[in-house]
Symmetry: D3
Subunit: 78 residues, 6 copies
């Protein structure tokens, strides 16, 4: 297959919606869990929001328990 | 059923991970599409990240095509 | 008092930490509630993080109940 | 006290507002400073926004001085 | 020109870095100002970060002066 | 030059718009690339959005390829 051309990307990204999903959670999940999450969450978006799978980006940020609080207490103190 | 007590929430939220998912997309989806997305994305998270469904929050922000750019062009100009 | 000079701002902002606080909540609070929140949250940051009050920025984003979900359900459906 | 039941959390989270506060600052604060910040910022929110303490989540992200710029200069160069 | 094929986008997005730039500012800029900003900011990213222009997304969120505070005061009160 | 006074900063920050730019990208850029990016992106904002350079803050968050997905696949698997 020939290398994709840049103007192809440009054309397509102009036409379609490109949702961005940002997940914030504690560290500790394995790569396999992240792999499964992005696969299944992308399916969920494709089926419900009518966007092609290629258009969805997912970013994961991990925040440790000593930087996440509920009810005025750090999770690491709870 | 008796009203849930606050210390119940406090106790549980201390123990469990509470991932937050933030979706950014163009406006135009119906309430039914959002309803389906949060249901299916929550399932995806529960199955892959091992968190109880009650622990997951999803926030949706809609960004119009004249405030979203790809390749140096506003989507509304593309 | 003379007008502040730009190089003053530039000098100071180089030296100090400038925390940013982003609040996401449902709409419905009055301006007075927001006014009180930014005043008290700034005090909290100044007292605990050792930053001058002028250095702290607070941004508030309001997200409606039909764009916020917990447990797989939109708040507006709960 | 009996273990809290999941439907309790589900019920309560449906009814109440659950503001999220995201703090971005340079690294360098101690755990005690973070601990004090989340306690005092939660008080500030509870008193001014009329939400129960259990409903407020605070996330802290630390961004180093070589990844934060003001006036076109990285803080680490200032 | 034939319609771009989906696998083209998929291939390319796998290979390249796709930075996301999020701008938060007060409302009031014209569409022409936004148009110029996304054009020039994309050039800046392409020249300095070595990414193709098509790979950069820019999102703009407008936050009113009564939802943005500095020094404990809403901008609308200053 | 005398040390800038705090009320100077307070005065100025009340009057001017203070846009915040948040860049998310993969790690791997050198400090020089970041330095050049914040310089050029600030110029772009100053020229197009009519804000003084001192007013613009830029934050950079680096997200590894195993925490960023497109099309349902982690970049590290692509």
């Amino acid at each position: 297959m020939p290398a994709p051309r840049r103007r192809d990307i440009a054309n397509v990204t102009k036409e379609i919606d490109m949702p961005i999903l940002h997940l914030q959670m504690h560290p500790g999940r394995t790569d396999d869990q992240k792999r499964a999450f992005v696969r299944e969450a992308t399916k969920a978006a494709v089926e419900t929001l009518a966007c092609p799978p290629e258009s969805l980006e997912i970013l994961i940020t991990e925040i440790t328990r000593d930087s996440w609080a509920v009810g005025g207490k750090l999770k690491s103190d709870a």
